[in-house]
């Protein structure tokens, strides 16, 4: 006998996916982020990408923890779960294991995901459930009004660090890679097109996809990423990485990244010493390279890599659970409680 959930899904299977627009994904709730917050852009790009995925709204679930970013599910007209601090990744994991048919998204921040939820974050990465994680990194605690976060730069002066923070910051991409993530990407709140592309790729990836979004908190940490997002400085400080393409950057496309041993270095393509052929060519299937790229993150004199650092295939957790269930059933038949109760030693009292 099929379960109640299976019956329900069978009844809903005739549903044809309508031609959605971004607006269809807006819940109509008043958005309560501060005016000018980078979160607005992330919400807008996500809503823009959703219609392209071909997934009906009722099959989508956005799960969040606590923090400014975690209000996100309220604004999406999908199923949503605003959980508790740090635990979105595990709420989502349980949901995905129980319901592999759903498209499950986690929205978290640098506090929620890297601090209180750090443990769950790394375990989700290694398990590789098919869940998409959007981490809004603004390098500050916004909802609690301005304390330093696990990604704040060392020396940051905040309400809780009047003499400057002495913590060394996490590098979320490196943390994800170190936890054996299969999809790791970085994008920018002020680059809608790039973000849309990354979110789409994340959705299509089978396995956990981790997307770090540099997001401006214009109230408590304004301009934290301006070097990478503003017109005047962006080209010289960001290298957009693309699979199969050499790492070229600069306003005039006149600079590149070359590997000197295992160490990336900036070379000029102008003075004739190096050409494009000498540059590092990105390969998103190369795990070793992904570590080198992620490690460029806080290095002075190196541009910040933005794009998809790694996208590889590995077995997916919930598929393995289903495979084991199928295997057990093939070997022993579908479980029968009556038989189980009577297995082993039993006796009759008359």
């Amino acid at each position: 006998m099929s379960s109640l959930v299976e019956n329900l899904l069978k009844d809903a299977s005739g549903f044809s996916v309508p031609k959605y627009t971004a607006k269809d994904f807006s819940s109509g709730q008043d958005v309560r982020w501060c005016p000018g917050c980078g979160d607005y852009s992330i919400l807008a790009q996500t809503q823009r990408v959703m219609p392209d995925l071909g997934i009906p709204k009722h099959k989508m679930v956005f799960v969040s923890g606590i923090g400014c970013s975690s209000r996100f599910p309220y604004y999406m007209d999908t199923y949503g779960f605003h959980g508790i601090h740090g635990r979105a990744t595990v709420i989502a994991s349980g949901l995905k294991i129980a319901r592999p048919d759903l498209s499950v998204w986690v929205v978290t921040g640098d506090g929620d995901g890297m601090s209180i939820g750090g443990n769950h974050f790394i375990h989700l990465m290694r398990r590789n459930l098919d869940i998409n994680v959007l981490l809004f990194n603004n390098q500050i605690y916004g909802l609690t009004k301005g304390q330093y976060s696990p990604t704040s730069e060392k020396g940051k002066i905040t309400k809780s660090t009047p003499y400057g923070s002495i913590d060394y910051p996490f590098n979320p991409a490196a943390l994800a890679l170190g936890s054996s993530a299969t999809f790791v990407a970085r994008t920018l709140d002020r680059d809608p097109k790039h973000m849309q592309g990354v979110i789409k790729r994340a959705a299509e990836h089978k396995g956990t996809s981790f997307v770090e979004v540099y997001q401006n908190c214009n109230v408590f940490n304004d301009g934290a990423f301006f070097l990478f997002t503003e017109k005047e400085s962006k080209d010289d400080n960001v290298v957009f990485i693309e699979h199969g393409k050499p790492l070229v950057f600069g306003k005039e496309k006149d600079k590149g990244i070359r590997l000197n041993g295992f160490t990336p270095e900036v070379v000029s393509l102008k003075d004739g010493s190096f050409s494009v052929n000498d540059l590092l060519v990105h390969n998103e299937k190369d795990t070793t390279l992904s570590f080198i790229l992620a490690d460029m993150t806080y290095k002075p004199n190196l541009p910040r890599p933005v794009g998809i650092l790694l996208a590889i295939d590995r077995q997916v957790y919930e598929d393995e659970i289903d495979r084991q269930i199928a295997f057990a059933r093939e070997k022993r038949g579908v479980g029968d409680l009556k038989k189980l109760f009577l297995s082993g030693d039993t006796w009759v009292v008359k």
Binding site: L8, Y79, F81, G83, S93, G94, D101, N119, L337, L342
Partner: protein
Amino acid sequence: MAKKTVKNLNEVTIRFAGDSGDGMQLTGTQFTNTTAILGNDLSTLPDYPAEIRAPAGTLFGVSGFQIQFGSSEIHTPGDHCDVLVAMNAAALKVNLHSLVDGGSIIVNTEGFNDKNLKLAGYAQNPLKDGSLDKFKVYEVDISKLTALALQDMNISSKVVDRSKNFFALGMMYWMYNRPLETSIDWLKSKFKDKPEIQEANIRVLKAGWNFSETTEIFSVRYEVAPAKLTPGRYRNITGNQAVAWGLMTAAKKANLELFLGSYPITPASDILHELSLYKSHGVKTFQAEDEIAGISSAIGAAFGGALATTTTSGPGVALKTEAIGLAVMVELPLVIVNVQRGGPSTGLPTKTEQADLLQAIYGRNGEAPLPVIAASTPSDCFDAAFEASRIALKYMTPVMLLTDGYLGNGSEPWLIPELEKLPDISPSFVTNPDGFQPYAREEATLSRPWAIPGTPGLEHRIGGLEKQNITGNVSYDPENHDLMIRLRAEKIERIVNDIPPAHVEGDSEGDLLVVGWGGTYGALKTAVTRQRKKRHSVSHLHLRYLNPLPKNLGEIFPRFRRIVVPEINLGQLIKVLRSKYLIPATGFNKVRGLPFRSVELEHEIEGILKGKR
């Protein structure tokens, strides 16, 4: 061959004790299974150290297993043992206090060499210094006899040494007239692929039996007739296994998938182990990275439409507390199993206690009521787990199921239920989008609709922020908050109409009412039964539902002159009862990490009746 006398016994308690590596738990389990099949009623208590392999021969490395069996109803593993099997000096030292005066000790003399005596802290050999004169001591060189039985087999001395527990088992089978077949069959299937180990153990088991039969060491043999139990088919079951099977049965009867999110913790891990076996039943188990992840994953699964559960012990509940509050707020069904152990903090991980009742009822931030149910015996864990699931699904609420280390590891015969006779507890998922509101409540139960992702048109958001009544939208409105707090409380209170009234065992009025809950049932029942045989006016009331409490309690209490509430804590139920019913109850509290002994309860009851307390 000497003539042997056969004596009939109504009940007997045996304790097997040895090193953690001596296989005492296995010996005890084998004896239990054979005894159960013979039709005796029984109750067992494993008592093992927290250390996995403590140094051999030491006091803290002693592992014990006690079984009481009889020809009438047995409710406890026995206060004291009649027979102590001691595989070494340390085992004797640790367990001698539990032996009745005049009881029998069967010792493995090899375990009393100088090294063992020193490790056990004996200045002189107790077998030789007369200190055991008030007991019947049987000295058997079990190690040597085991080696002799296996001398023509080409096996390592390690395997030989590990077989000696079966010699002791064989002796006990002979002494209590039990057949060897059950254990032989077990060995054959367990060591199917290791024929040498199989043969060695079978030989040693038979050697133990034959040794007892032919030597003159034992002059008496005992007979314990089958007990008169409710007719039907039985099997032996531990509390942890019963919880696992109860949850599986509930999922089946609810037509839902069972999801367990759990983190290993003593003494609850066996539930995780057990449920992990049943992939063919579609059970999904998730060993999470910590306790918080265990419950949070279960909450996620509940949102997706599973019968979700998380299993743990006290410290784990402490970690899960915030998430339990979330489950209260989002009103999703969830069964939280707490196999209580000695606390606080890490406490006594392998020992039993009942000190998490207030944590279960009150231990959350904010007004966060939830139903609390306690199992009373190992086999009752099945019914309690089923009932916890029923309430969780019907009222869309997390439910706390309390068992304890004693129930979880203890075992007793279980009357196998007929699945057809268990009620259907299927929930109904809402599917109609017309007028759907996530927090519109059902009139009778006040439960909210369960709308699972995948249902077209019911897209909605839930979360830990306060909800607006009916719509479920986030609301900071003061009046709404007050209303929602009351609605959530009222929902749990209304469960009182859906649970059976409390039942007094014995007279419905009298001098003394003994009120208990949870795993103390057997000890209280035994004590009260014995006192009633002495024509004392005492009755027993055992609570399964701790929140809400059964409706009729307020009518029962005034019918007794005195009320005593024995608990393995410093008085938790009594606080709840006093505050709700304003009764002058007396506590009886011992928190030693051990179950109550019925004699100490009897002593207390007599003291109260004589007006000494």
